[in-house]
Amino acid sequence: MKKFVNKVEEILTESLSGFQKAHPDIIKVNFSPDFIYRAKKPAVDKVSLISGGGSGHEPLHGGFVGHGMLDAACPGQVFSAPTPDQMEAAASKVHNGKGILFIVKNYSGDIMNFEMGADMIDFDHETILVNDDVAVEDSTFTTGRRGVAGTMIVEKTVGSLAETGASLEECKLFGDHVNNVTASMGVAFTSCTVPAAGKPTFEIGAEEMEFGVGIHGEPGRKREKIKTANEITNDIISTIIEDLKPNKNQEVLMHVNGFGGTPLMELYLLFDVGQKILEKEGIKVSHSLVGNYTTSLDMAGASFSITKLDEKITQHWESAVHTAALRWKI
């Protein structure tokens, strides 16, 4: 296994330590239980947003702690949901009088651990479950869809609303709304390698890609022969559109997310292709985000996330943000 690592068991602690040292103006890290929180307490009373999940998706979520986004993030071991004591400790640390809003990606492990954490706190709390991945069939009888790169869009927009002093209920409703109008899907060319495993999670042929892959390298819709950027993007965007059913002239935010191993050059190329396809459908890409934001360790591949914009989402997407990984207007 080729990684920058001393002891595999220490990788998370050492990485968090470096993260803290690199961004002392934005975040602090608490160790055992591990959580990342804002270096400066918010100036106003506000709902406190806490997210978290397995590590290996950086900058998600720790990179989104700071003004305008999260109040805290709880990193689990690589690809394993964090433990309830982390959520409890983070909540106690950042609670700011207006309740706690947990933002959780829709995986059993995350849901159960966040629930157990929530059971341990006395503050008002709500949970937004993000399930934007249209690669997976949705059904009320099963776990439903996975939460993927759309999560950061929820964190950005709800984070901005919370900053205005909005109530817990308002934030929860808005987050559910943003989640409902956001859909994502990705494709992988290579597997990620979990440090503890030391070898790739899945085998994949030299000419193959996994269509609809999950952000942990989970299998997606199908394994198929590699296609051109135009074809891949078409397949993804049409699946997303089927789900979102946007009107003609709908304005959207398009987020092209790299899984870690794909050069920026290709991500921008995908953005170009995606924009053209949407334009043909009469859909206007008015806002954009291109880069590695919700990664899967070193996996080569990318996902598209599209959010149907309305005035409120647009306002809260555009507003000032000051985190390690996303920073504008401040």
């Binding site: 690809f79 394993s80 949901a81 433990t83 651990n113 157990m116 099963t142 869809r145 503890a196 999950g214």
Partner: protein
Amino acid sequence: MDSENIFLALKNIKKTIDLNKDEIEKLDQAIGDGDHIFNIQRGLNEALKLEHELSNLSPEEVFKKIGMKIMTTVGGSSGALFATLLMGMSKKYSKESNDLENLAAMFYEGVEATKKRGKADIGEKTMLDVLIPVSLSLTELKNEKNIQTVAEKIKMVAEEGMLSTKDIMATKGRASFLGERAIGHIDPGARSSQLAINAICDEYIK
């Protein structure tokens, strides 16, 4: 039932899990995210570290503390579920009962809590496909005098449960995202649960 027994069982479980590491790893790589083996190994290591600290405590305290340790160190689905199982079990220990009665009552309580935690039941391709039948059998057998008979029966039930996960679709947990692609693969949590139960039973089979 005392702290020593419980830790002996844990050590046996650890041995079996370590021996079957590669298989468990591959199962979660096939239909999950590949971390299951590391989660349970981490949990077992952390639990075993408690041996001296818990050596003089009552079984209920031992189960509770191990459950809490697992809750705070494992993470993932299996961390939440196994912690819930153990903390649930701790609630039903009774000094008045014999070991088998205790085990049956405790396991029943633990499995009920686990079902609630996972919002899941039998037939959803999860560890519950092992845990529920085992719990039911234990309840049936709680008055059986021959402990070896019990162990042999439970072992069989656990294995059947584990194998039953192979040819069904998952409706809970990560494998549920795969739809039909999960068919043909044994559920990793079912396999690790079955291996653990196996390790305990083998201690009573000569």
